[in-house]
Symmetry: C2
Subunit: 273 residues, 2 copies
Amino acid sequence: MGAIRTGHSEVEASALATGASARAAIRAGRWTAHTSGLAPGHVQGNVVVLRAQDADDFLRFCQRNPKPCPLLAVSEPGEPLLPELGDDVDIRCDVPRYRVWRKGELVAEPTDIRELWQPDFVTFVIGCSFSFEQALLEAGIPLRHILAGRNVAMYRTNIPTRPAGAFHGPMVVSMRPMRAAHAIRAIQVTSRLPNVHGAPVHIGDPAEIGIADLARPDFGDPVDILPGEIPVYWACGVTPQAVVMEARPDLCITHAPGSMLITDLLNHQLANN
Amino acid sequence: MGAIRTGHSEVEASALATGASARAAIRAGRWTAHTSGLAPGHVQGNVVVLRAQDADDFLRFCQRNPKPCPLLAVSEPGEPLLPELGDDVDIRCDVPRYRVWRKGELVAEPTDIRELWQPDFVTFVIGCSFSFEQALLEAGIPLRHILAGRNVAMYRTNIPTRPAGAFHGPMVVSMRPMRAAHAIRAIQVTSRLPNVHGAPVHIGDPAEIGIADLARPDFGDPVDILPGEIPVYWACGVTPQAVVMEARPDLCITHAPGSMLITDLLNHQLANN
């Protein structure tokens, strides 16, 4: 078993094979990089931490917009542990790298938020496309951005979210091009996974959902669309982040892009049937 | 409750509300027309009757091609009753109008085949799109050919079927145009109904499956495709009929187009989950 190297870390891959062992390496400061590929088969989540006065509105926002904001867990106020997601999951130290935002401005990127913790902090963990991408790959559907080692292409759309309090804004989608037969299968596969964005929100013409140019994504990397392929669009976990940044709460803490919370849940446990 | 009128029949609608009552009217010769809209909610089936020497090959053909040929029932040789489909379902007299084919040529269109019955006849009843169209309508997906009172548009494709004995040929598909969000929902809804053709076989570009011009269907009526709509293609029960005609067996009996066998099964019983 070889070592996985990054700019920050060198850890034996076997030490990252489960949710608990990956979190232990992260908590000890031995892993501060992206989590893609870690703890294979385990659910990873997007993280948003808010003060209580903002958390109530944000919870209603997620409830009203389950496709971009599928909630895997919401903590008790002030409680750093997330027992629904695994044993001893501590949101203060189990994410490799955080982003701290004050009034919508990025002010720090720490690897630990114990010193920032407040007794009214509420943590939201939101399902992530890593889970459904595993399901698509297992269904024999190739994903070009993964083959190319790129981030998925993401776009702001004209699809409105349903607002709650200060939180509002358009849906962000991720797009994966695929042949028609794979698109049909991908709809079937992801329909079973509502906790990680579920079925696509659109297929085909990008202009229908307000995307001017697929070659110029708003987030992530562009990807080629070959003849005979159909663009397939899923609601994206960047939506809640964009909505929170736009609302400019006094304080918000998120994961850094790609540095997710690794849980003890298995992707296979998420399937509806 | 009003009477339903056709060129041939006038029957109180209440007398056609269930599978059993509709079959009784048909068996008594009081209904010899199309069955669309009769016995609402009940499964209707395509019918193919073959001699034993051809039936073995055709059964293998259906087994190998379940999307165009989803078998609802296969009779015992020589047995005119189909107990899997309901009480006292007699294939010799319970279809409003039959077609008799000799070596692939249409030779008669009787309303009863008791005099033609042979001790080695095997009946195949194949699922029909009426069932999944009801599910689509119940899911709030409008179907233009139904709103226009037309037959669905059907096309020969370049999608091969898997041959068995003398039976071979391309898949025939039906096409329904719909908006992208409805197409996604239609894939979800019909995926649950594999006994009535299941999920679409294609979406989007007709050239991908060898259709030269959507405005010129090979069977049925053309239908407008509006801006923002995607053509969605399902495997069609015309496929086995086309394959049987091409194989030119000595004798074959089918239902006349639109004059299906009405069963006691409910469409809701067909759903996988």
